[in-house]
Symmetry: C2
Subunit: 513 residues, 2 copies
Amino acid sequence: MNEVTARRARGGGGSARRAERTAVRMDTAKFITRNIPNFEILNEEALQIIEWNAETVLEEIGVNFLENPAALQRWRDAGADVRGERVHIPRGLARKLCATAPSSFTQHARNAERNVEIGGKNLVLAPVYGPPFVRDREGGRRYATMQDFRNFVKLGYMSKWLHHSGGTVCEPTDVPVNKRHLDMLHAHMTLSDKPFMGSVTEPSRAEDSVEMAKLLFGADFVDRNTVMTSLVNINSPLTFDATMMGALEVYAAANQAAIVSPFIVGGAMAPVTVAGTLTQVLAEVLAGVAYSQLIRPGAPVIFGAFVTSIDMNSGAPTFGTPEASHITYGAGQLARRLGLPYRSGGAFCGSKLPDAQAAYETANSLNMALLSGVNFMLHACGWLEGGLVSSYEKFVMDADQLGTLHHLAQGVAVDENGQGMDAIREVGPGGHYLGCAHTQANFKSAFWRSDLFDYKPFETWEEEGARDTETLATARVKKLLGDYQQPALDEGVAEALADYVARKKESMPDAFI
Amino acid sequence: MNEVTARRARGGGGSARRAERTAVRMDTAKFITRNIPNFEILNEEALQIIEWNAETVLEEIGVNFLENPAALQRWRDAGADVRGERVHIPRGLARKLCATAPSSFTQHARNAERNVEIGGKNLVLAPVYGPPFVRDREGGRRYATMQDFRNFVKLGYMSKWLHHSGGTVCEPTDVPVNKRHLDMLHAHMTLSDKPFMGSVTEPSRAEDSVEMAKLLFGADFVDRNTVMTSLVNINSPLTFDATMMGALEVYAAANQAAIVSPFIVGGAMAPVTVAGTLTQVLAEVLAGVAYSQLIRPGAPVIFGAFVTSIDMNSGAPTFGTPEASHITYGAGQLARRLGLPYRSGGAFCGSKLPDAQAAYETANSLNMALLSGVNFMLHACGWLEGGLVSSYEKFVMDADQLGTLHHLAQGVAVDENGQGMDAIREVGPGGHYLGCAHTQANFKSAFWRSDLFDYKPFETWEEEGARDTETLATARVKKLLGDYQQPALDEGVAEALADYVARKKESMPDAFI
């Protein structure tokens, strides 16, 4: 398939030489570049109303920048009306500040073949982020550990349709809170060669992320290039806290990318209506992105929108719902009009198990995200139970489905081969196409094929144990982890990273909150 | 919710009076009218190429009308070049003949509240059609019986988001082949008051369908109105057999609707490329619809496209794949340009079980069908194992998901209430929306909610047995069948139908092939 770049595990050093001897062929798809239109759910009038209202929110209601006098001063200097911690942004100012943010940027990986271009018609896929629990069929639901974290990084590295190693693929709860970012970064940097995310849980941890990236890529390279994309959530409604803004400040100053992302359960953190939620999302992103450009004009930044609906009976967030789709489609249009890369979507579901509910909800979300024009999709695989759980089985189930997005995005070829008129002539009424020349020439790349699902005859399937999808996924997890081979890394770099982690850990007492 | 019409079981006669006493409130949604755009995957140039090529196919290659001298004569009279059983249709002729077919029509139900409008921006949902097997969790996979058939008609009648009772919801293999259409029609006519489909397996069975419809609706009413929509498959590639055309002739002459539908597994019955398949689909539909208009100009007819891909490793048809989506999106554009209602999509999957594979594949298909502009979706619930199995559990799982299509299709309201500016003002930065006036006024209708899925807290879910979706669905099937109450029917009509069925059955020996 033309979007797939074949590669081999490469060597340098003892373990690398062993890898070379037993190398398994590993395919990784290039990030998606859409050759299909986006789905535009809002008309021009609706877009203008929402954009007008968002500016009204910024000017009239304003946004809070908490415990951050420097931020308030920056806003004052930029022309905002600051009252206490409330920043009132005059109509048009935030949009004007956003104009210096790039519409697209390259995030570099240590393996240059894995570099991703975030923006434009592209879609970059990254795994689940944040769950404190993991689940697999044999071990059930349990607190996540650093061993789980490493396993998920390995699965991500082995997944053909995944372009990005992500960030907190699960929370390693067995490592102290103030030290786990070091182990997590070390895992991404050494167990995978795909691009990754930095820590945001404290400004000092963002600084550690930049320092470790400099060890991996070289300080000069990091000064000149973007090598991390990190997740900066907004405390919706309309609140920017000092922790997240502190991380944003570190990354923007270092020219590293941040996703500025409202985190919204509709009806709780935003109005219960779609247009109202879009208004608040746009206001929040305008303020957050504008602030990033006050730190460093031109710093790469992404228009984020994590949005879902709520079950008004139980108060539980719900996923894969029509209203979440409406918001995601609409936010994509707003992001494109603002000229910013767009982050949204994911393998979202509320189900406790990787069952049919999980798959319906997830497929609803994934399809919608592709057609929404999303450029960076966090949570693209492995998300379970409303984001409380990283699921081993669902990770490989979702990662397989991501292949459908690649093929959908290719669009329809109408060249001579695509038209297939010679085939229709050759076969004629009543014939069949399986053996014709056109089919023989095209069949290998014509249809997407799952690497996981069951396509066997009923009798064979039954003889082999009548396995359901979760059972097939359990086997695939084991196979991938068994086949895993660590990508080679310069020994000096590996030592420097290990040393940095050890030194920083020694410098602090453990903290578990 | 505004799209839902509440109704009660109504009475007349003894059983009806009992029904009245114990009446359960039953909601049925109105058919979907889209307030969102369609997804247009092909540009104007691609559409023109495909349309030009389809006409080339009709003129140069032609189509076969087998064992049907009257059809060949009709084509000759219309100006086609007929050689043997091959009909070569001059460029433009078929499209011209199609122009008399209505772009939209009403299919009447015996309960006028259940009438459906097929065409335009509407989407009518009907259940699975054709499987010889059924499956449920407790009984496993087995040949379908008339008892199963009646159960599926009851489930369809009870399903809020299903507008149509369908046709062969499963093949009742315990009834002789030459008599089962009588029992099936009788079940649709008496166990449900939703619109239904007629028999197509022989012209005489189509005639029985019309006769029974006249008993149910009155002969005058049937002469003046469309009360059945029936499925006429084309033997792709490019072949129209005497059985299917015989049924089409009966229905068109009686002004009853037919879906003219290529049945295509890509790479087997059509070229392995998307544009090639679309070319053949369009040629086949043009020929079939044109023929319906030769029988009776103005007869209601639907542009059908049953298309899926093939697994080139095993030869198995595959479902929910990107290529099937490409074809379905493209065929919708071709149908709209031809001014015909469009049938495609369905709850398609290849999985043997109602598991995650089934749900991923199904959700891919359902979402794509909504955005493709489908007007009539057969197989909208209950389809399992590539259409070999009608699944009880998947029937209610899919039927629940159809609710998401209703809500998606509503689009985004941007009136004052939708904008929600008062809510944003009331809540302000750092507040929450759960209690605000706008939320209170809107929460009941703001978000779609599944009637099946699990939204409970983890601990509650675990205490209640950690049930997966299939387990929840088993319970729902039992509940619906337990709550079922037969809709009242005039006693004279009921007797006439029973008498017709008995008389016809007596008039023929049993045949099982």
